[in-house]
């Protein structure tokens, strides 16, 4: 039997318990990610499933990512105009819009939209499969859920999110262009020329690298929380919420790390 802990040491006990809980959760997550990654590069690869998930994750996310990008691009142009005009720098609007969209807002906004749309969807789908014993059924049919369910979702998100971000970059810049030429009296040809002259391949490439990392985060969080869900409908709901929250936090965290890395290497 554990000895009774004095009341003034209770806070230490709580901190210890929370720390142990965090460490064991981190360990479980690391083991899960390791297993999914191994499954993603070992045979059999379910190409049909990868294509199906590419359509579900990528193609069906196009409208929401496109709409978000156009509004973000438009709002960004207005804000830069207001801020730039305070020190007579409004002519740099096209340059700042394209940099902001390709390096930061395109990948982050697309990642966050997918965290809401895709990560929650994956967690709910996998969670429902778990509580209705479909994952056990897969196992008894000699098929690993890591290979059949999780690896295709990982591949699909890593492949499609960079494509979505590229589309978001183009649409976001177009949103800025529409506002600048429609309401701020910018010359259209000059706007496009400034944009094309200023943006570099490195700006776009860096954003696409971020997108691939965010894609991995979104799919892995959805699968992880889905496969850990238990307790029926409320458990599935909790898994979807956890997937969205953890994806969003990890996207912001990894965005900071990648931006720091890209700045250091001059990308």
């Amino acid at each position: 039997m554990n000895p009774e802990i004095p009341f003034f040491l209770k806070p230490l006990q709580w901190v210890g318990a929370a720390l142990l809980g965090l460490l064991s959760e981190t360990g479980r997550l690391a083991a899960f990610i390791g297993r999914v990654k191994i499954s993603a590069v070992s045979f059999p690869l379910y190409f049909g499933e990868i294509v199906r998930q590419c359509i579900k994750i990528g193609y069906y996310s196009l409208p929401v990512v496109g709409l978000t990008a156009v509004f973000i691009g438009a709002a960004l142009a207005l804000n830069i105009y207001v801020g730039g005009s305070r020190f007579n720098a409004e002519q740099f609007l096209p340059n700042i819009v394209v940099l902001g969209i390709t390096r930061e807002l395109g990948p982050v906004i697309a990642g966050l939209m997918l965290a809401g749309r895709v990560s929650a969807g994956i967690a709910a789908e996998i969670g429902t499969m778990k509580v209705t014993e479909q994952i056990d059924a897969l196992d008894t049919l000699s098929t690993s859920p890591y290979r059949y369910l999780y690896a295709p979702r990982l591949w699909a998100a890593i492949i499609t999110l960079p494509i979505l971000v590229f589309v978001a970059d183009v649409i976001g810049v177009a949103g800025g262009y529409l506002v600048a030429t429609g309401t701020l009296d910018f010359n259209g040809d000059l706007y496009i020329r400034n944009t094309m002259n200023y943006v570099t391949g490195g700006d776009i490439f860096g954003g696409l690298i971020k997108a691939a990392v965010f894609g991995a985060i979104v799919s892995l969080m959805g699968c992880y929380h889905g496969q850990n869900s238990e307790g029926g409908a409320s458990g599935v709901g909790r898994a979807a919420t956890l997937a969205v929250v953890s994806s969003a936090v990890l996207i912001f965290f990894s965005n900071f790390l990648l931006t720091t890395l890209f700045t250091r290497i001059g990308l």
Partner: protein, 254 residues
């Protein structure tokens, strides 16, 4: 005496402080049907999941066809699963796939059968469980509970296994549909010459599909005998369960 196809020896399984299985022993011979009965929460489903390797054992051994199934040896488990079928309580059909792909899942993904041949074999198997060709392209959500159980049975027998597990095969079905499912189970299991392990608390089902019945209580088998002997077992626990009385040595789960 024939060597058992499946044998569980001194199996223990706990969830936290709650001890579910406490020295479970049973075996089933090739071609024989064993039904395990027991009240809610006595560990019937856990014993099936341990047998299939879906849960790890705290203690004890499982032998399939004379070979011990060790938790760290995936190839041994793969070999067992290749010869095993399972009908889940809620059928556990993959709702993103049409019925024929559910039935042919193992054929396509594990045995490398072409999709064309797999579909033909799936439709043949569906006929065995009295489902017509028109069902093949439907999705599980479009089927009634009884039809889902039939599809689940078709999936369990499609690869002609040597051992089939049935987890509460008649739960949630009306008595007539339940009886029809029982008939199909007997017909298909005997037709394949397979062994089967079923768990249920539905006594008409247990009497119909079992050659032998075993009673699980307190995490172990407390009685085992021929199906026809279950009504005069001489065991007060079995007696109380079979007659569905609230009074007796078994306390109700509420």
């Amino acid at each position: 005496m024939t060597a058992p196809l499946l044998r569980l020896k001194n199996v223990h399984k706990s969830f936290g402080p709650k001890k579910i299985l406490q020295g479970l022993d049973f075996d089933v011979a090739p071609g024989k049907s064993l039904v395990i009965i027991g009240g809610s929460g006595t560990g019937k489903s856990v014993s099936l999941k341990c047998s299939l390797g879906l849960m790890t054992l705290d203690e004890g051994n499982i032998y399939f066809d004379g070979h011990e199934m060790r938790a760290n040896k995936r190839s041994e488990r793969e070999a067992m699963l290749a010869r095993t079928g399972m009908l889940f309580q809620g059928a556990a059909l993959f709702d993103s796939l049409p019925v024929w792909q559910n039935v042919a899942f193992r054929l396509i993904h594990s045995e490398g059968v072409s999709r064309k041949e797999a579909k033909e074999r799936a439709i043949e198997t569906l006929k065995k469980v009295r489902l017509g060709t028109e069902v093949a392209d439907l999705y599980p959500a479009e089927l009634s509970g009884g039809m889902q159980k039939r599809v689940g049975l078709a999936r369990a027998i499609a690869a002609k296994p040597d051992l089939i597990f049935f987890d509460e095969p008649t739960t949630g079905l009306d008595p007539i549909t339940a009886d029809a499912i029982n008939d199909l189970i007997v017909e298909q299991v005997k037709g394949l010459g397979a062994a089967s392990v079923s768990i249920t608390h539905d006594m008409p089902s247990a009497r119909k599909i079992g050659d032998e019945i075993a009673m699980l209580f307190d995490g172990k088998i407390i009685w085992r005998g021929k199906a026809e002997d279950v009504d005069h077992s001489g065991n007060e626990y079995v007696d109380q369960f079979v007659h569905g009385r609230a009074d007796g040595p078994i306390q109700p789960a509420i």
